[in-house]
């Protein structure tokens, strides 16, 4: 047993049992997160049943360039996180720190792009109840309904991502100060599971919100 292995809590008989309990606990928590996002997604799908063409046109108004770029950013952050977990499990603290830093930076990049996208949505007349709201050929009430789902779903997601960035930053700080060389493998793995889950949520938000409508390549803009 390496010297930096975490202390064994009294309810566990082996370190491996403690580790796998932590991992299982996070998976159970992620199942509850599925409840949260799943219910809003179900409401969205049920509503869409009544206005498929309006929702399709509304989806076509969203900025798929930023949405697509953000998807790639988040996928890259998941790769960085997976490599950080590997670094933690093999005891390579430096590699782990570099990868945690990359994860956090990519997460912040996503949030920055998202914030800019919200501004661009307002500028392009997609935010209901603002002076610039411009439904175009979509029924205004139904566009407003679609945009409400968009803001709630992406807003919930952004909050979860922010929490993830905080967790990764905390882990990086503690690792840099020497607290977690190989002992941090379980903590890193558990935070990694959370991070990948946030990525999976976005993987579904992209087709639900952006890609459920037709986009023209000529309409791609920042």
């Amino acid at each position: 047993m390496p010297a930096e292995a975490p202390a064994l809590a009294p309810q566990f008989s082996t370190a491996e049992q403690q580790r796998s309990a932590s991992v299982l606990g996070m998976w159970v928590f992620l199942a509850t997160e599925v409840l949260l996002f799943g219910s809003v997604v179900t409401a969205f799908l049920a509503t869409r049943v009544f206005y498929p063409h309006d929702f399709e046109r509304a989806a076509g108004r969203l900025n798929v360039l930023i949405g697509g770029v953000n998807t790639l950013v988040l996928l890259a952050s998941s790769l960085a996180m997976a490599l950080a977990v590997h670094g933690a499990q093999t005891g390579h603290r430096r590699a782990m720190l570099v990868c945690l830093g990359a994860t956090a930076l990519l997460g912040l990049a996503f949030l920055g792009l998202k914030g800019y996208e919200y501004f661009a949505d307002w500028r392009d007349g997609l935010v209901p109840r603002t002076a610039r709201f411009d439904p175009g050929e979509v029924n205004p009430d139904r566009l407003a309904l679609f945009m409400a789902f968009y803001f709630v779903l992406t807003g919930f997601h952004a909050v979860h991502l922010s929490i993830g960035v905080g967790l990764v930053g905390w882990l990086a700080a503690r690792t840099a100060r020497g607290a977690y060389p190989r002992a941090g493998a379980t903590v890193t793995e558990v935070i990694g599971l959370y991070w990948h889950f946030v990525d999976v949520v976005w993987i579904f938000l992209l087709p639900l919100l952006y890609l459920s409508g037709h986009h023209a390549p000529a309409d791609l803009h920042f």
Binding site: A31, T32, H86, L193, L206, G213
Partner: protein, 97 residues
């Protein structure tokens, strides 16, 4: 102590697959497929991407049965929610997809 980790090369390969699927799904949205078509294609590709993230990045492939159970139960619950809700709404006369 299970130090069986996912090798970095596997993670990079998974990432490459995810990028390809993302570029593919966005490109497909440039076609005209109708509301149902867009949603179906997008969700199928999304499910494939989520499976890659879950199996490789989240280590499901290396995980014991109890972890598969926890993950599966969450998905199963969501399946019930979506299926029973949608069968209600889709059966209404004013509904369409």
């Amino acid at each position: 102590m299970t130090e069986r980790t996912i090798p970095p090369a596997t993670s990079v390969l998974a990432f490459a697959g995810l990028v390809v699927l993302t570029l593919g799904t966005v490109s497909l949205s440039f076609l005209r497929m109708g509301p149902a078509g867009h949603l179906a294609v997008g969700l199928v590709i999304g499910a494939a991407k989520a499976a890659i993230v879950a199996l490789v990045f989240m280590h499901l492939i290396r995980s014991p049965a109890r972890v598969w159970l926890a993950a599966g139960l969450g998905l199963f619950w969501l399946g019930i929610l979506i299926t029973l809700t949608m069968t209600d709404y889709l059966a209404r006369p004013e509904a369409s997809f």
